[in-house]
């Protein structure tokens, strides 16, 4: 399984903090994103209408990244700490 996390505004909008996705269903982060867009009716608009950053195994990545069973992928808005 791939553990998918959402944070902050994005998690509120989706009404979801965490999701498990079958690792055999998605090969990489592009496919995972496509999977999420199709996951629920309103998710497509929410996920594509704003800048979502992503982290794979707790490190931010920009490009498409290969995924394997046990990986953790997080989506979140631009950070505002400090």
């Amino acid at each position: 399984m791939i553990k998918v996390l959402f944070f902050a505004k994005l998690s509120e909008q989706l009404g979801c903090r965490e999701l498990q996705v079958d690792a055999t269903a998605v090969e990489n982060t592009d496919q995972l994103f496509q999977y999420l867009i199709e996951h629920k009716a309103e998710w497509s608009t929410i996920l594509t209408s704003q800048l979502c950053l992503k982290a794979v195994n707790q490190a931010m990545v920009n490009d498409n990244v290969l995924l394997k069973d046990g990986d953790e992928v997080a989506y979140f808005p631009p950070v505002t700490g400090g």
Partner: protein, 150 residues
């Protein structure tokens, strides 16, 4: 020392920890506080969400980058999470070095990277009771440009 914590921190304690070696000639500290006004709106309090695990990794990585660029004798990064009120301390970055140039640069570098890389998110409660997630500021992204390798 790196810490992500709910509890408050103490300026004097953190300063004393940085001051512990006799080779230290310069200490720079930065403290971020909850302001009463943000983007012209009156704020009553703040809550800070983070990504446990990644925040710590991210802060360790930023401090490591700073250590590769400047001479640092001691360093401290503390970031609070959870519920905060006006004038509460949010973040502390302290650097002890032999010379001031290193301490200033490393401290500001860490803050600039933390602001754009570390997974923290602020949600404000306004004085009228409404809540809103704070938007990322372009000026914080721009601040990174001064650290580009020339």
């Amino acid at each position: 020392m790196i810490s992500v914590q709910e509890q408050d921190f103490n300026q004097q304690e953190e300063y004393d920890r940085l001051k512990c070696k006799t080779s230290v000639g310069a200490i720079v500290t930065f403290t971020g506080l909850v302001r009463d006004i943000n983007n012209g709106q009156s704020v009553s309090d703040l809550s800070l969400e983070h990504y446990p695990g990644m925040t710590e990794k991210c802060l360790i990585d930023i401090v490591e980058q700073a250590k590769q660029r400047w001479n640092i004798i001691e360093s401290t990064v503390i970031h609070r999470v959870g519920h905060l009120a006006i004038s509460d301390q949010i973040v502390f970055v302290g650097i002890a070095s032999q010379h001031r140039g290193d301490a200033f640069a490393a401290c500001e570098f860490i803050m600039d990277y933390l602001k754009t890389q570390a997974p923290f998110w602020k949600k404000e409660t306004m004085s009228n009771g409404e809540t809103q997630w704070v938007d990322a500021r372009e000026v914080d992204q721009d601040a990174l440009s001064k650290w580009a390798v020339k």
